[in-house]
């Protein structure tokens, strides 16, 4: 995202500016009280103030990144606030919604439930590392084609999770709905639904998400 030298205003800029205004207002009206801005529970879960710092280096989307972080910083917050990769979303921040899903050494995880300092030397792939606007990952293209979203907030997590799901099926990892543990799992809609159950879509685009993943899965099978 280029911000220098022009007046391009992104949706994120507008949201951040709006948030700042509300925080400023509530600070004025509740002087001295603890301010919890419209970032919801961020006041409690995002590190603020002085905490012990720790150095950590990891590879993000193929590039080595060095950080010195408050030990409380989750991998999700490191990606968004320190590496400025805001494609990974913060939904519930408790591992219940899957919006923060990224690939850690190729395996999908909830980036909100792991500390950045625990990932020295690890390799992280976010939605930005899967494809570019001019060169989409095949799952990104399939989500566009099948309308696998409405608001789009869960989409980066859905797509990172789907990448992990297809790799897991290819590796022969069974699921709760696999009828027989001793044979290779099938690429059925039932399997995809079970395996994607850690990604919530409040808009309810599930049918189209299954269609998008099924199309890519069929191509690879």
């Amino acid at each position: 995202m280029s911000r220098s030298g022009n007046f391009e205003t992104t949706r994120r800029d507008v949201l951040v500016a709006g948030a700042m205004t509300v925080v400023a207002t509530s600070t004025t009206s509740k002087a001295g009280a603890q301010v919890r801005g419209p970032a919801g529970n961020a006041g409690k879960s995002s590190p603020v103030g002085d905490g012990p710092l720790s150095k950590v280096s990891m590879t993000i989307n193929g590039s080595r990144r060095d950080f010195e972080l408050d030990t409380r910083t989750t991998l999700l917050d490191a990606l968004r606030e320190h590496a400025h990769l805001t494609g990974t979303k913060k939904g519930c921040d408790h591992g219940q919604c899957g919006a923060c899903t990224v690939l850690l050494d190729g395996h999908r995880i909830n980036s909100c439930l792991t500390l950045a300092v625990m990932h020295e030397g690890d390799s992280v792939t976010t939605i930005e590392g899967l494809g570019r606007p001019d060169h989409l990952h095949e799952l990104q293209a399939a989500f566009v084609k099948h309308d696998g979203y409405q608001c789009g907030y869960c989409t980066s997590g859905q797509i990172c999770s789907a990448v992990g799901v297809l790799d897991e099926i290819r590796a022969g990892i069974p699921s709760h709905v696999s009828a027989d543990l001793t044979v290779a799992p099938q690429l059925s809609p039932e399997e995809l639904r079970e395996r994607m159950s850690g990604n919530i879509c409040r808009c309810g685009a599930y049918c189209n998400i299954v269609d998008a993943i099924s199309e890519v899965a069929g191509r690879k099978a």
Binding site: N41, D70, N110, A171, G198
Partner: protein, 316 residues
Amino acid sequence: MKSFTYERAGSPQEAAAAAERTQGAKFIAGGTNLLDLMKLEIETPAHLIDVNGLSLDKIEATDDGGLRIGALVRNTDLAADQRVRRDYGVLSRALLAGASGQLRNRATTAGNLLQRTRCPYFYDTNQPCNKRQPGSGCSAIGGFNRGLAILGASDACIATHPSDMAVAMRALDATIETVRANGEARQIPIADFYRAPGDTPHLENVLMPGELITAAVLPKPVGGVQAYRKVRDRSSYAFALISVAAIVQKDGSGRVALGGVAHKPWRVEAAEGALPRGAKAAAEPLLAGAKTSKENAFKRPLVERTLAAVLTQARS
């Protein structure tokens, strides 16, 4: 989240020594439960000892034909292991019935055993909870307790243990291996690992301060038809209302452990003696002493019916 210092441990004994000498220290591996609780300030460790670098991530055959599962083996890897799928199907099934794909990729064997309860009052820091704050009272008794314990509970706590994996391990008679700061190793049968809540529900297991789980050991395979049936409010990604882990032999004998009904996986010897006579005969001793509320009384018939379904499945 409260601030904390952080270190990476170099060996299991070093980790145990660091935990023993540091006030308020906790181990962290997958972190999927601990960080959730730290964000809510239910857990407030002053120091975290990262054990992910310890070489405890292998599944190895034991001399007597069983399997030693390293403490750091991720839930996905354990469920997918060919030997587990072939010889310990109940364990594979239990793991796959729990959490989500993302969480199973991160959550570890030892961490799964040490999960804290999902009692809503344990999670609500505005409410009294003897497990979170000893002596403060139990909001669940007389409160919203539909999902909570009907067996082995006390006047101080009716929380359930949330693990699916532990229920299967109880049916398989797993042993938990640990190491302490002085290098002393222990083998704890899973039957003796969890404590009854009694007056001290904040003490959940028999681990000593600083003691680190290094492995879970399964005895040699017992064969039979193995099944794990989990009943929950939605078909995926939810904790159990009740669950049944069963290993049924051709002659109708077998083993049964229940999840979602007590502070630990629930297994009763007398119930297994009655198993060849069917679900009704086995459910009676299994549920002996059950204490239900209006909200969770449904768990009693649900256990019997789920057991009946599992036995039918095993015999078909």
